[in-house]
């Protein structure tokens, strides 16, 4: 093994030892070869609790090279605790360059969003996945869910959507909306809003999914069909927003609601902080832009 020089004494490059990274890469290769199939892997203890992205961190550690540029987002934002600490973790243990710019990054680890800026060839998007099994809440037995996947027996998924329509009049699943990958496996896209589902379809970037607690890795290779499940008379739809972003006036993007005071004041802003900042840098101004902080410091 030619282990790379650690960035700080005491750590192997990117924290994990080389044998572990090999094991994870094998799982990733298998996952890429069978799009949407959940590959079991020997998930390691990471210096963070389950649920904070232990799966995503292991996948990132396994694919990261010294020349990569890493971006980490949490709910679309580069500056929340989870994003900042994972970014710092790799800056320290791998010494790689980090960025908040989607266009500059070669590896993006994400929790709950796909960046608004379209991804390009050669980029890798790593998702943190809490529950990889789309059939989990419909069929509690793991032996049975595996059999259902093996036989492509996915009637149950539609039972869930049927129940949604029967109860709410429309498909009320808004995140972790099940998709069919490459016409074969049904997959959970991790708890991203369904708004992001169309971005997965034929994306030029490689999409990798790591579930640390559940010990599963799955993948969507570049330019792979990803179709959201639906009914003929209740087709899949993404969320729509009435107003543009209050800071950068962007439309057709996913917005977060921010409560401003206790008198009903609120604003809707881009959930993708980098996208919003770069639009403001380019001179776009939303209706509340002047009241808010200057660009780049949100």
């Amino acid at each position: 093994m030619n282990a790379q020089a650690p960035a700080e004494t005491g750590y192997n490059f990117a924290y994990l030892d080389e044998q572990t990274k090999r094991m994870i890469r094998r799982a990733i290769l298998k996952a890429v070869a069978i799009p949407g199939y959940q590959v079991p892997f020997a998930s390691r203890e990471m210096p963070m609790p389950y649920g904070w992205g232990t799966g995503g961190v292991q996948v990132t550690a396994a694919v990261l090279g010294p020349n990569d540029v890493l971006k980490v987002i949490d709910q679309g934002s580069d500056d929340t605790t989870n994003a900042v600490s994972i970014r710092k973790f790799f800056a320290k243990t791998a010494g790689v360059e980090t960025t908040t710019r989607t266009t500059e990054a070669t590896v993006i680890q994400t929790r709950h969003r796909i960046p608004e800026t379209p991804l390009t060839d050669g980029q890798i998007l790593v998702y943190q996945v809490p529950i990889p099994e789309p059939l989990r809440f419909l069929e509690p037995r793991e032996t049975e869910t595996r059999k259902l996947h093996a036989l492509a027996d996915y009637g149950l998924m539609h039972v869930k959507l049927y129940e949604d329509i029967a109860r709410h009049g429309h498909i009320a699943t808004t995140y972790d909306y099940p998709v069919e990958v490459a016409g074969r496996y049904v997959m959970n896209p991790s708890p991203t809003p369904k708004f992001d589902n169309p971005k997965m379809h034929r994306s030029p970037a490689l999409q990798l999914f790591g579930a640390g607690r559940e010990k599963r890795i799955y993948a969507v290779p570049p330019y792979t069909d990803v179709v959201s499940l639906d009914f003929e008379d209740h087709p899949f739809e993404v969320q729509r927003f009435e107003k543009p972003c209050a800071l950068c006036a962007a439309t057709g993007v996913y917005l977060d609601e921010v409560v401003l005071d206790d008198r009903g004041g609120r604003m809707f802003v881009c959930s993708d902080s980098d996208f919003c900042a770069s639009r403001r840098d380019a001179g776009h101004r939303g209706e509340m832009a002047n009241a808010a902080q200057p660009a780049g410091q949100s």
């Binding site: 027996d153 009637g155 049927y162 329509i165 009914f231 008379d233």
Partner: protein, 258 residues
């Protein structure tokens, strides 16, 4: 309808270690025919039903089934995918305990629609229409379509199970003590319903019961089991009115007259 049997079992046996589950069971069943399997607890009735529905693999013998395309095949030579497809299209299974046969946390409409969705129906309106139609046919108020089966009475649950199974127009239905645990008036309505549906759809039914009255009402032919063996079989009326075996005589005479 074909001259060939729909399902034929030959020399079917299942051993649980040294113990006999059932042994040397052979019979044929045709479309539109109702076969009752009676016997006391532990006589091998349920084992036989599990073998026939391919839930258990037999120790000896074979079962041949005439598929919808007319080809007769050995059930245990089917692939897992073919077997499952058969189970949710051409077969039905009405369980003794409705909680095993239904999804208790899914609405009545979803329960009925599940098989349709499993075979590729992707139109919500049509699925719901079919579900409404079937709820009507099993005498469940159509405004209960969005209620959960756990809010249903025992009799309604059994009728819902029947609707859920018959929605894909199966040709063969297994019933495992479908009326036990129901009070007599509800039993009578359920039996009436089953009898009507069997006649209307030309179903073949294999019904396991310990209740001779159920067997007499529903079935054309009867098999009496004891200690894992079929000790007597024939036309229902003949066997029940003129039992040949001592055990069958005992069984018939044990029925309490109301």
């Amino acid at each position: 309808m074909s001259e060939l049997p729909l399902l034929s079992a030959r020399d079917l046996g299942k051993l649980y270690g040294p113990r006999i589950g059932c042994e040397a069971v052979s019979f044929d069943i045709h479309e539109g025919e109702v076969l009752a399997v009676v016997g006391e607890s532990g006589s091998g009735k349920s084992t036989l039903l599990k073998l026939l529905s391919t839930e258990l693999a037999p120790t000896s013998g074979n079962i041949r089934y005439r598929m919808r395309d007319g080809v007769t095949r050995d059930l245990f030579a089917l692939t897992e995918a073919e077997r499952r497809f058969l189970l949710r299209t051409d077969w039905g299974f009405v369980r003794q305990d409705a909680r095993e046969g239904l999804r208790m946390s899914v609405s009545a409409g979803g329960n009925v629609g599940e098989r349709l969705m499993a075979v590729g129906e992707r139109h919500y309106g049509r699925i719901r229409g079919t579900a409404l139609d079937w709820l009507g046919r099993v005498e469940i108020d159509t405004d209960r379509i969005d209620d959960l089966p756990r809010d249903f009475s025992g009799g309604m649950r059994q009728r819902l199970q029947i609707a859920r199974n018959l929605v894909t127009h199966p040709r063969l239905v297994f019933m495992d003590e479908p009326t036990s645990g129901l009070d007599v008036s509800v039993q009578a309505r359920l039996l009436d319903l089953v009898r009507g549906l069997v006649a209307e759809m030309g179903l073949a039914v294999i019904i396991v019961t310990h209740d001779l009255a159920v067997a007499r009402l529903l079935s054309h032919r009867i098999m009496v089991m004891r200690h894992g063996h079929v000790i007597e079989q024939g036309l229902t009326d003949q066997v029940l009115d003129d039992p040949r075996e001592a055990y069958t005589q005992l069984l018939v005479s044990s029925v309490l007259a109301a």
